[in-house]
Point group: C2
Chain length 320, copies 2
């Protein structure tokens, strides 16, 4: 039986035991939350990018390095944590100096921009893969979890979707390692980890996640963790303009729902805090684009402009 | 120009900037030491094991899982830290349920034995590789660093060496995934992370490292970080009995010096603390087998039983 990543983790790595000492959140969120005592809570996340699965192996080493860290910092953003440190486990077929110089330059460009220090790592020989473990700080009780949402909450995203998948389709078509359209290319290669937005959502959002696998899959994680259903209003989905211009609305909407790699935040807000969200948006702290709401039930559903239920066929990228 | 792992890290990933906030030790030790404020110091380490580079891909999944965690906990042991949490980044060619069940059973057997909780991770498709990031606690100022040793300090190891390399040679000869001799097999597959020993060495050892690449290479790291030279007394090297019986003393001594994978601790003790070490040994807290001493100069050198200098030709396994 083929397993997707989610049931794989559920089946083999989550255990029905009491939480271990100091673990405020374990497997099943964007980060683990570890009790650092008086120093607050430490958010920790790890992600592996494998060549030719998660990025084209022939791509620029600078781009590979900087994107790898961006993707990990996005997980910290989804918990409203502030990046502090990271570790790098780098597997390389050979030690190519030019490649390594460019890779580390890309990595440090992002690290420096976010004040996140490389504190350790491991280099090994083997098929190209990059695993980063990022650690961030977040005051106790304001970390954003997947499980905090309730029926009635409104659902938002921090930016337009579908652009990263469009860039990937462009690269696949042309066989190039970057998309010809610079806007699309940036959506795939230079996703902005929404760290400022995550912090701005402390005390406002009831739950958050970063969109790595597609809106349906990722909002589905929030819905499941919170014990509710989600209703998307398809007409409202904010779609990447460059993707729309190149690939049209049907294709772009499919990618917004299931394409992944956009690394915008998807977050939920109780009606009681919509005014606070509005204030944060007006202060320029984040964008909040409405995409739907949470209701009782299970799963992620969609409605068209006339309020009719639609079947969602694109359920997001599955790792297995 | 081919680069080994050490110059690769020095060249591309260590930067001559001031230490980042909260970083007590960064790149270049067994773990990073991060300031957790009142909660003490957090030791963090990450290691990747790649199939058919670091272990036979066809080996038992239980063995692969449990060894991967042992190897990472060994880095915590070398800093005198107590394991708390770990993250798993697992790259798999396919989601094989039997393999995963056995792998996770092996992983949790070691995790439970050491009170170390799995708090997060990532599963990806690709060539089999296991990256573990382990986090441990250690009170401020008692963590064992590579850089604390001085000329005049005595050098010890916590157990006999050469057995893991002998097991690997046996497996290579026979094409099997385990060594026929159960003692040898255990030296490779079930290395005991010397966590109890690391804690016992707090306040006694001036420096410590775990022996993953071979005594010469790893003691060389301590010597370099401490600005001293090391002199090994070859006659005193504690050699694995099972390896001696099977492969003879010359081969076993070579493996002890350069074979790696033994995961004993190598540590240094100032003469002023030898009495405290003796007390800890008599109390059964650790074994301390003398192998040499530190002197002024650079590098690792060896003397035979007659005090003659010998050239060290085996300098430890290099990853590149």
């Amino acid at each position: 039986m083929p397993l997707d990543e989610f049931s794989l983790i559920e089946t083999f790595f989550r255990r029905p035991t009491a939480p271990a000492a100091g673990v405020l959140a374990g497997i099943g969120d964007d980060c683990a939350l570890l009790d650092g005592g008086a120093a607050g809570v430490l958010a920790v996340t790890t992600d592996t990018l494998v060549a030719d699965i998660h990025f084209p192996a022939r791509a620029s080493a600078f781009d590979i390095g900087q994107r790898a860290l961006r993707v990990n910092l996005s997980d910290l953003a989804a918990m409203a944590a502030v990046p502090r440190w990271f570790l790098l486990a780098l597997t390389l077929p050979a030690a190519d100096e030019d490649w390594l110089r460019a890779f580390s330059a890309g990595l440090f460009a992002v690290a420096d921009a976010h004040g996140c220090a490389l504190v350790g790592g491991d280099t090994t020989r083997g098929p190209l893969a990059v695993t980063i473990t990022a650690l961030g700080a977040v005051p106790a009780n304001v970390a954003l979890r997947r499980s905090g949402a309730s029926a009635g909450d409104q659902v938002f995203v921090t930016g337009a979707l579908g652009g990263a998948a469009a860039a990937l389709a462009d690269m696949t078509q042309t066989g190039a390692c970057s998309a010809a359209d610079t806007t699309l290319n940036a959506r795939y290669w230079y996703p902005e980890p929404r760290l400022r937005e995550g912090v701005a959502l402390r005390g406002i959002a009831s739950a958050a996640i970063d969109i790595s696998d597609g809106l349906v899959a990722d909002l589905g994680h929030v819905a499941r963790a919170s014990g509710v259903a989600a209703e998307l209003e398809l007409e409202k989905l904010p779609l990447c303009g460059a993707a729309l211009a190149r690939f049209g609305s049907d294709q772009t909407r499919d990618w917004a729902l299931g394409g992944g790699d956009d690394y915008e935040l998807c977050f939920t807000v109780p009606t009681s805090r919509l005014a606070a969200l509005e204030t944060a948006v007006r202060a320029g702290r984040l964008r909040a684009l409405p995409v739907g709401r949470l209701v009782s039930g299970t799963g992620v559903h969609a409605r068209d402009g006339a309020g009719r239920s639609l079947a969602l066929t694109r359920t997001g990228y599955r790792h297995f």
